[in-house]
Symmetry: C2
Subunit: 191 residues, 2 copies
Amino acid sequence: MHVKVYLAGPEVFLPNAVEIQREKAALARAAGFTPLVPGDLEIPPAATKHERGLAIYAVDEGMMMACDMIIANLTPFRGISADVGTVFELGFMCGRGKHAYAYTNTSRSYYERILNDHYMGEAALRADGRMAGPDGISIEDFDMADNLMLDGGVLRRDGTLVQREVPEAARLTDLEAFKECLAIAARQHLG
Amino acid sequence: MHVKVYLAGPEVFLPNAVEIQREKAALARAAGFTPLVPGDLEIPPAATKHERGLAIYAVDEGMMMACDMIIANLTPFRGISADVGTVFELGFMCGRGKHAYAYTNTSRSYYERILNDHYMGEAALRADGRMAGPDGISIEDFDMADNLMLDGGVLRRDGTLVQREVPEAARLTDLEAFKECLAIAARQHLG
C-alpha cells in the first residue's frame, strides 16, 4: 500500500531548494513513503504575478488532497513562528483528517521566543494575571513549540512533534528531526 | 437558516480581548450570522500548562467543526505575517471545504513587508532570477497580502480578502475591514 506524504516547509525559499527537497523526498522514499513536494509539478502559465500565485496554490492544494499524511517543518522562519504557508498546509491537512507530523529545529519554547526574541525580555504580569509585553499583548505560555493550534493540531491526532536543538547556521537545512518524524510515522503507518 | 461563522484572529491576546471579541460577535449577529469565538466556552481543568493548551485546542477545533464559515483577521502580528494560530484555523476551515473570508489592516503587500520590514530594503537578484535577502532566502512576489497559501486558500473558494490601510496604533483593533467581510459574506450566503 502506498502512503503518500506531503512534505511541507520553508525549504522552497532556500537557495538550495531543489537539492534539499530532493533529499527530503529520497529520505521519505527510503522510509517506505511516496513523497509529494510543493514545486514538484509544472505550474500552468499565468498572465500576472497574482494569477501565478493562485495557480501555485491550486497545484499545492491538489497535492495535499492526494496525500494521506503531512510532515511539516515548523522551524521558526523570518521571526518567532513557523512559516505561515506551512502552517496553512498543516491546518488544511488536519481539517481533512489526514495524519499529521511536524518537527522544529529549535528546543526553545514559543513562550521563550516571544519573551526573549520579540520583547527582548521586557514583559510583566497584566491585570488579568497573564504575562504580556510592553504593548500589553499577552504571551502564550503552554510549554509548546509554537502557537497552541499548531502543537494541538498535531498532538490531538496520532501525530508527533519532534523538537531538536540545531545551531542557527543549519537550522533551516538540518534533516535529523525530519528523519525522526519519518521513522515514527513509518512505525505507525507502514508495514 | 443559521449560518455559523468562526471569528478567528489574534484579538484573543489583546488586553481588551473580551470587549473586542464581544464587539465582533455583536457585529456578526447584526449582519445575520451566528458567531462562534475562541474563548467563548469554558475550558475543562488541566493538570499542566501543556494539557491546558491541548484542551483549548480541542474546544477551538470543536467550534470550527460546528461552523459553516470562517472570517480570519490576517493583520500582521508580531512580525511580517499573520498570527500562525489564525492561519492554522484558516487552513483547517479551507481543508473542510467551509466558506472562507479574511481581512488585513494593511494595504502593503507581503513582498513589501519582507523586503522592507524584514530585510530593511537589502535584497538582490539571485542566480535563479528571484529576489532574495542577504541570507539568500527568496522573497515571495505575487502581489498578495501574505504567503500565497493564505490568499490562495481564500480566493480559490468563493471568498474575499479585504485589505485596508489602518494606522499602526489601531491596526489590531480596527473593525472596518471586518465589517466589509461581513457585508460581502452576508450578500453571498444569507437571505
